[in-house]
Amino acid sequence: MIASDLLDVPVLDDAGTHLGWVVDLRFVLDGSPSTYLAGARLHGLVVSPRTRTSFLGFERSDVRHPWPVAPLLRWLHRGTFLVHWPDVARVPDSQDDTDPDGRAVTLRTGYRRYEPGL
């Protein structure tokens, strides 16, 4: 599996309701230590309910300038949430290219939404 298998993919809940699109993958460097950096564990998916992609991550940071770019982008991406990896039930099959329009990430019942801020 590569990151492109998950990025920009629609996100559904267990009932098939469309929740948004995967706009980013969040990693936490808390894995096994190595010579340089610790292992990068996939912590969760950043999901935007309104847009298919993100731009410079204004909705995930405290940056307020330049005005009006930052407020506008923050407003465009309002409602963006983080869903933890254990709440993901199903991911697109990376080997299956037969139906690219049918690819989706499905979340588990009772998944939880978290603030996406960095």
Binding site: I2, L7, G16, T17, F27, T35, Y36, P86, Y114
Partner: protein, 147 residues
Amino acid sequence: MRRGRTGPRDLAREPEPRQPGRILDARLHLLDRQVLDVDEVPVCTLDDIELELVDGEPAADGRIDSSKPVVIAALLTGPVLGTRIFGGRPPASRWYRLAWGHVADVGTAVRLGVHGADLDATWLERWTRDHVIGRIPGGTHDPEGSG
């Protein structure tokens, strides 16, 4: 994808618990960054990330075992210009892998702790140096060298 019902867009969000390590977002901090080797020599740009399910692979229908973490196995670079314009993705055999264990720092660029000349990702540069540039008269002369 044809969308059926659209879910509520502004449900309440819980505060994110503090994580024990540094946080990196793939698009924000990694993808499309320049990769430098240990001597600050540009190696490539980071085109994709290879993810690895610890102790297993996803089921054939994409179901995953949430008890098993997913980690970054390698950073990928390859011929993505065409696929970014026309769609699709390069075959797995065309990717060049930079092991995550070789990544020394992530900042405005991704810095490796190894020499770029030892990596498969720079083979074309080495081949061009040896077979094209080196055959031009004076092509083996280093203008910055002592000679």
